[in-house]
Amino acid sequence: MSQLSTKHLLGIKDITADDINLIFETADNFKEVINRPIKKVPSLRDITIANIFFENSTRTKLSFELAEKRLSADVVNFSSSNSSVKKGETLVDTVNNILSMKVDMVVMRHSSPGAPHFLSRNIKANIVNAGDGTHEHPTQALLDAFSIREKLGDVAGKKVAIIGDILHSRVALSNIFCLQKLGAEVMVCGPTTLLPKYIGSLGVKVEHDVNKALQWCDVANILRIQLERQQIKYFPSLREYALYFGVNKKMLDNLDKEIVIMHPGPINRGVELNSDVADSEHSIILNQVENGVAVRMAVLYLLAGVR
């Protein structure tokens, strides 16, 4: 298999395990490329990519832009803070205006679940979902699984605990779909108010005790508290959250095994994750960031192939 089964990357739900493995194999090559002295390849020369971000982003936007530039694509950036969206323009109008300038691919982040799916029915360009509200963040899940594979050799058979604000997390959903497709066991852990009531129906284990989750897993993916997406109160205070759901070094020292610590960033240090863990030898957080560029290069390269 040398081609993806889809024209867009809207979510992990919509792609196959073969697609994921193809992305990983391609990313292996690109990881080697970005560690060369000359980090650029001409694969997407003459392809124009628009990064359209209707929500704030630092690392995802930077990572996509870097991936695009390493592939020699022409890149334009657009964010809602300096756009006509604030003047009341619709999503389709905004994107169509950009596409009229002959853009081939769109990387979009949006606060509405399903916004890229809606867009895919209305425009012709390839779409990469860079996060849609509380739905999916497929490239994050791909780079997370890629990082686990790199660290532990394989994803199949591994136990991964996703700990934190699952309710407001697009990373959690995409991770669940991706890890399950690759044969891993998944547990979610957090306060009951931050776990969707029906999350167990997705075939994941549900736990509310962080120590038990850490004891169970091979990999702990700690998610940030999404204060910006919490429209109402879900727990009493950040102090209480840090005390009962935060992960610190002492907790890891009490385990009878070594586990891998991940975090999609940005970290609320001292809340969901203490610095003594984030910066420890257990952590592969910065490897995730590096792998993010390689995985996004692979996704863009492969999608360009099905244009």
Binding site: K13, T90, L91, V92, H110, S112, P113, G114, A115, H117, F118, D132, G133, T134, H135, E136, R170, L173, P196, K197, Y198, I199, S201, L202, Q231, I232
Partner: protein, 413 residues
Amino acid sequence: MTILLKSLSFIDSKGIHKPDDYIFDGGSFVKAAPTIPKQIDQTLDCTGLFGSAGWVDLRCMACEPGEEYKESLDSLGALLQASGFSKAVLMPNTHPAIQNKNDIQFLKSKTSGWFTEAVIQASITKDNKGEDFTDILDLNSHGAFVFGDGLNPLSNPDRLAKVLQYLQKFDGILFDHSYEPLLALFGQMHEGLVSTKIGMKGIPGLAEEIAVKKNLDILRYTGGRLHFQTISTKGAVEAIRLAKQEGLSVTCDTSIYHLLFSDEDLQTFDSNFKVNPPFRDHENILALIEGLQDGTIDALVSNHQPQDIDAKHMEFDLAQSGTIGLQTFLPAMAKLSDQLGWQLLISKITDGPRRVLGEDLSSISSLTIFDPSEAWHYNHKSNLSLSSNHPWMNSTLQGKVKFVINRDKLNKL
């Protein structure tokens, strides 16, 4: 006008009768045999057609005044007539709301020429906000006897209790779309496995169940007449079933589309499936069907809520709720006819809603005659609404209304 209906298969509470000839004169409906009156003004060949008493929709919306571009009173009148409805209750969620005698007079004058009889539901609180009461007795003196805030629930228990007491002066009926707004806050769809999979904030069935149970407790305390609109949950059906057994003066309806669509239809993020109450899961749909069959649910409604393209063609969570539902009502029944049977379906848009409105069922003053199997294409050309927010747009449907007769008016379609 005396009309001879030849070879009509008539449906009533006794079942589907064998094809026969009938005479209808606007006030009585009788078999033509053995003697046909000499004076026949019209003869309609009804071979292969079904007929019933005229259909009644307890919940539909005109957007006039305020948003005439979505559905004007003129377009709604034409739509109701073509869809087979001889009577319809109009929701008060216009801009301004239907909340004073001038509003009632405006609607009366605009609907006086309609083929369909309009029952004007008046707002029970100002601007349908659930706080200050409208001038209820004054509105009643101008003809309103059905009250309610339409799309909005009357969730304040004190307001609901006072209203149920106050309406008793003239046997007024409170129509309420009951749900607890704080439990539905920011919700976009039914809360369940599908909402979890697509990361969408859910509206738990609990939001409706808790409000229905609370309102039944209040009704038990106050007395009065309460009609729940568009119930969608198993818990609501069970609570109303028990309340009816207890003898409370309660009735309810559900939208026909809540029997046909489920939360699984939302997986593509198509905003045409965004409605309030949301399309639920199969367990709730089965409970609604059971409720229709055992008489707990009295009526089926269209819940016709027009939205223009600019209110729907956007991100799912930003889109407005609602589907249009009149012209597709018969095709919706046709899709359900194998499962539920025509007799039951027809009873829920004839005797059922007429009982809710307190009407005498001994006479028939209107008829709807239809072909249950005629296929037609539902598209922007055949659509009579000013809006087109329906999941079946651009598809072939089965079931077409052929004649509607309301007293002395005949409409051939």
